[in-house]
């Protein structure tokens, strides 16, 4: 099970394995995107992410960060979440994508990573943004890698505790 955590934090980042500043698309500071690889949750707002998405040597990128309003979460098997996963496979695959989880059975957001200008435009139609609000951000180098598209058409998680599209039981 992935024990990689991701959070967009306002203040200073402590003890992260990777972190980079984030800005809104009109250039306003938006905190720092940080990732930790550890068993225990590092900060209150952290969510588990596909560990392949994190790369301390990764180039700058644009992201769509989809997060639920406070206190809201959906079952991972909710029809809306299923359909969003189908649409991700159907559309041109971004540089990387991962659902965000706190436990084994709920969907609590998603991050989609874009590097080409074309992909950045597609972030505006992020399928996960049909479920919860999305923030479009520019993230500096030093945290986000690239994950190859899953073979498809599987939309299930491998080992129910893993973020999608992790595609191996082992």
């Amino acid at each position: 099970m992935s024990r990689c955590w991701l959070a967009l934090v306002d203040g200073p980042v402590h003890g992260a394995d990777a972190a980079a500043s984030a800005r809104t698309l009109d250039g306003q500071p938006a905190g720092a995107l940080a990732a930790w690889s550890r068993a225990a949750k590092p900060v209150r707002e952290a969510l588990r992410v596909d560990e392949r998405l994190i790369d301390a040597d990764g180039a700058a990128a644009w992201i769509s960060l989809v997060l639920p309003p406070p206190g809201v979460r959906l079952a991972f098997d909710d029809l809306a979440v299923q359909q969003a996963r189908r649409l991700v496979l159907l559309h041109p695959f971004p540089a990387a994508v991962s659902t965000l989880l706190r436990d084994d059975s709920h969907f609590e957001g998603a991050i989609t990573v874009a590097r080409s200008a074309e992909d950045e435009q597609r972030l505006r139609d992020d399928p996960f943004a049909r479920i919860f609000p999305s923030r479009l951000l520019a993230v500096e180098a030093g945290i986000l890698g690239a994950v190859p598209a899953p073979t498809g058409p599987t939309i299930e998680r491998y080992g129910s505790g893993n973020p999608w599209p992790w595609d191996q039981f082992a």
Binding site: P92, T151, T154, D167, Q168
Partner: protein
């Protein structure tokens, strides 16, 4: 031969080119529909996989057969099973064809016909396109061939039910917890 039935009467026991039941598909590298280099073993991962070689988007038989695979994908998406389609078309053409079909699996391009040559799957009767001989194999994570269907004649291609049976048999062999744990 008809309905994927081999000379020994076993369904899905055809041999096509270098593809035969019990054999192993070479671990080839090809470009996917997004232009990324992909290796077969990584795409198959740990799951039963339908590996489909087809002539091209222009062939009416392929258009009909893809409708079967699109029907299968609604089962495969929840069954830890994968689908791959391979042709000589470019990634751009494959991406457009895939989008038009509504397919949610990976398409691979072999425009130089390297894998086609390696597998002896060139359709010699079509000297205009030099496409793949249509063929479907069901393979496991070790790339070993569990079933082969020769699709040169359309009725040689597997039905959805035949693919489901192959995927079930392979999953049963592959999943250590196939027998559901019960009290």
């Amino acid at each position: 031969m008809s309905e994927g039935r081999g000379r020994d009467g076993v369904v899905g026991a055809d041999a096509v080119g270098e593809l035969a039941v019990g054999g192993q598909v070479p671990d080839f590298d090809l470009l996917d529909h997004a232009g990324n280099q992909r290796r077969l073993s990584q795409l198959v991962g740990g799951d039963p996989t339908v590996l489909h070689f087809y002539r091209g988007w222009w062939c009416p038989k392929e258009q009909a057969f893809f409708r079967r695979l699109v029907a299968l994908q609604d089962d495969a998406e929840v069954a830890y099973s994968r689908i791959l389609s391979v042709s000589i078309d470019s990634p751009e053409v494959n991406a457009a064809f895939r989008a038009g079909l509504g397919a949610r699996w990976t398409f691979l391009s072999d425009p130089d016909r390297q894998v086609q040559t390696q597998l002896r799957l060139r359709e010699t009767t079509d000297t205009l396109n030099d496409p793949y001989v249509p063929a479907v194999v069901v393979i496991g994570p070790d790339l070993r061939i569990h079933a082969v269907y020769n699709g040169y004649w359309y009725w040689g291609r597997p039905t959805v039910d035949e693919l489901v049976k192959s995927l079930r048999d392979l999953s049963r062999a592959l999943r250590p917890d196939w027998e559901a744990p019960t009290p």
